[in-house]
């Protein structure tokens, strides 16, 4: 039996754009008398003028019960949109989904939790938000608390919880609600390893009993290890569907071949220009200065920030924040200001040494301080997204947000060394 049958599913968003709005005649408040010199106020309630954007289109697939389905793709490929439609958070523009049984979604850690409530109350509330009765939630309470290992903290408000505890609670509630379909967006990204393993074991166990899970993840090694099948989305379309190893290999090949680490639509933000400077581009380069789309972890790579300097004598300093799965992995700032004597193009290069990055995807936010005007800066968020890949498959040996090669040594002693009494 199929848990989900998705037929020609599509979601269109209208991205507001001033240009498109200007080209389109607007309904106005001046009562049809076009010549009256009244300000034109556009009336609410009409679809805003803008560019159409199909976040997802022509998606057709079916998922047999008990499948662990991974969904991969670059940012803005439509993965989250697909999950949001299935979770009924947003309505599709076209197509339909037929499903069976209870759907529980974990689209964001802590959605449907209230930080001021205790774990006990949050479990009841979360159950209620999935339309599950209080009686059923109370029946499952002991299992939920036990699986989340929160026996001693049930009465504390969850705002006092660590993010790991939060994750444990959220996951435990979701899995113990006995869903038939579980929707999970990037839940593998946080939490301690031991609990992640337990989650995945439990998911695999439940799948044997007929649970269908849709995972959205950027963690290629985790999805290919865990899932039975993978769907690769690209620009809202299904680009690949099938055996995990095969689809992941195709996806990585495509990501590497793309040439520039362009990010998806609308993701960029920040004020990227001021009177002193403008961030013209942010690119990933290899040691030969060629633009690349993905970073080999065994080689040095460079982030190049190309600036247009508008003021002679500007003092600039670049700062790069590197994120993985929405967490700041590290920030690197230039040690000193650079004084640029002339107008023109300036390239700032940041070297990321070999054997630092892990095999995962990273997003880069760029800030450049332009000290010639006090306290001013230019910012480009989500300037660059790239995947780091290794040449060997380290699996368990390469987990985490970075995988630095550190010095290890081994000392073999003849006898067990004596314990020192006072090591503080």
């Amino acid at each position: 039996m199929d848990s989900l049958v998705v037929e020609d599913l599509g979601k269109r968003y209208i991205v507001a754009s001033k240009k498109a709005a200007a080209e389109r005649p607007r309904p106005t408040l001046n009562l049809g008398v076009a010549r009256l010199p009244l300000p034109r106020i556009s009336l609410p309630g009409r679809p805003a003028a803008g560019n159409e954007l199909w976040a997802l289109r022509h998606a057709t697939f079916s998922v047999p019960q008990g499948t662990l389905l991974g969904i991969i793709g670059p940012n803005g490929a439509g993965k989250s949109t697909l999950l949001k439609i299935l979770a009924r958070v947003t309505r599709p523009t076209e197509g339909r989904v037929t499903g069976h049984g209870r759907v529980v979604s974990l689209l964001e850690l802590g959605a449907g939790f209230n930080p001021d409530f205790s774990a006990h109350d949050n479990i009841l509330m979360n159950a209620a938000m999935h339309g599950i009765s209080r009686r059923e939630a109370l029946e499952r309470m002991p299992e939920i608390i036990e699986f989340a290992e929160l026996e001693d903290f049930t009465d504390n408000p969850v705002r006092q919880y660590s993010s790991g505890m939060y994750l444990r609670l959220a996951f435990s509630v979701a899995i113990n609600m006995q869903p038939d379909v579980l929707l999970a967006d990037e839940i593998l990204a946080v939490g301690d390893m031991a609990f992640q393993e337990r989650c995945l074991d439990r998911v695999a166990q439940e799948a044997e009993r007929g649970l269908t899970v849709l995972f959205v993840s950027h963690d290629m090694s985790a999805v290919s290890r865990l899932c039975h099948r993978i769907i690769w989305l690209d620009k809202g379309q299904i680009a690949g569907d099938g055996e995990p190893e095969k689809v992941v290999a195709e996806y990585e090949e495509a990501a590497l071949g793309k040439g520039s680490g362009e990010v998806a639509f609308g993701a960029r933000s920040g004020r990227h220009a001021n009177v002193t400077a403008e961030i013209a581009s942010v690119r990933l380069l290899n040691a030969r200065g060629e633009e690349i789309g993905a970073a080999p972890t065994v080689e040095d790579v460079f982030v190049r920030i190309r600036l247009k300097n508008r003021k002679p004598g500007a003092a600039i300093r670049g700062v790069v924040d590197v994120y993985s799965k929405r967490f700041l992995v590290f920030r690197s700032a230039q040690a000193e200001d650079v004084v640029v004597e002339r107008r023109g193009v300036v390239d700032l290069l940041m070297k990321i040494p070999a054997h630092l990055l892990a095999e995962t995807s990273y997003t880069v936010n760029v800030t450049v301080y332009t000290f010639s005007v006090k306290e001013s800066k230019v910012v480009l968020n989500n300037a660059l997204t790239f995947l780091a890949y290794g040449h060997d498959s380290g699996g368990q040996l390469k987990r985490g947000a970075i995988a630095p090669r550190l010095d290890w040594s081994a000392h073999v002693h003849q006898r067990i060394p004596k314990k020192r009494a006072s090591v503080v």
Binding site: P44, G66, T90, P92, G99, S105, N114, G131, G210
Partner: protein
């Protein structure tokens, strides 16, 4: 890949029988009956949203819940002083304070709940883009903390009445079952308010302008409703105009029900009830049509 058959371990799963089929379709038309059943299924979240709305209202304040009392009592004191003692507004034979409070109870069933209920979608924005719940519950959940104010004003009214009973030996409330009508009038005001929030909560989720507009409208509306003055003060030929305001009749009825020597009109009360039904139906229709589009914009 495991498939579902009755002999599989899944059949031991106590919930597997309710693996009912559901459909999400772009061209599906919402049926009010299905929606009502869904709201009933999710009814428990009303309590949690109410609690949350109440807590967010006064969280991060030093005085906490005491604000509720301050915010309610101070305008009462100032209002009764200005309108009663300074401006000497007629009060139909009862002390102005009593008259004023009797107007404030039904009015506070509209004022606070409208402003709060209109924020229902807006304040839960973070949640709504990540988790599906029947959104129509949210304006209702936002409204409920607004019930605290009429309750407090009601208690103040009772205390004031008791004060006159003890000190002056006069008990203004009639002994027939008339005061029960007062409760019905309050329920009618609340129903009307909810119908209005079905519109305003959507507007406010789309644009915060609605919030400012609402403040203004409510601020003026009180003067076009016989809250601080009796309707008998209004010239007879203009009273029908006052009655077009759907809040006039319930406020008048409330005062008639608890205080002696006043008049009210059953016919205009029926008019308000009819308006409420129409507003409610139109509101549900509007909300159902607008919600999915609004969810994509917030």
């Amino acid at each position: 890949m495991p498939t579902f058959i009755n002999e599989s371990p899944r059949s031991a799963h106590p919930l597997s029988e309710r693996a009912a089929e559901w459909v999400i379709a772009a061209d599906a038309r919402d049926r009010v009956g299905d929606r009502a059943a869904e709201v009933w299924q999710y009814r428990q979240i009303l309590w949690f949203f109410s609690l949350k709305a109440l807590r967010t209202l006064y969280s991060k304040t030093h005085l906490g819940v005491w604000w509720i009392f301050l915010r309610t009592l101070i305008p009462l004191l100032v209002g009764s002083f200005v309108y009663g003692s300074v401006m000497n507004i007629a009060s139909g034979g009862v002390p102005y304070l009593v008259f004023f409070l009797a107007g404030q109870v039904p009015w506070s069933c509209f004022d606070g709940p409208l402003v709060r209920g209109s924020r229902g979608l807006e304040i839960n924005r973070q949640l709504l883009v990540k988790l599906y719940v029947p959104r129509i519950i949210l304006p209702l959940g936002g409204m409920t903390p607004g019930l605290v104010e009429p309750a407090i004003v009601g208690v103040v009214l009772l205390c004031t009445l008791a004060y006159y009973r003890i000190n002056e030996g006069i008990w203004y409330v009639s002994s027939d079952p008339r005061p029960l009508v007062a409760v019905a009038a309050m329920v009618l005001v609340l129903a009307f308010t909810f119908s209005v929030t079905l519109f305003t909560s959507v507007w406010q989720a789309r644009a915060r302008d609605a919030r400012f507009v609402l403040r203004y409208v409510v601020g003026f509306w009180v003067f076009f409703t016989p809250v601080i003055y009796p309707l008998s003060q209004v010239p007879a030929e203009l009273r029908w105009l006052m009655h077009l305001n759907p809040l006039t009749a319930p406020v008048e009825t409330f005062k008639w029900a608890v205080l002696p020597g006043l008049e009210h009109s059953w016919a205009w009360l029926c008019y308000t009830a009819a308006i409420t039904v129409v507003m409610f139906l139109a509101g549900v229709r509007f909300f159902m049509r607008a919600e999915s589009e609004t969810m994509d914009k917030i």
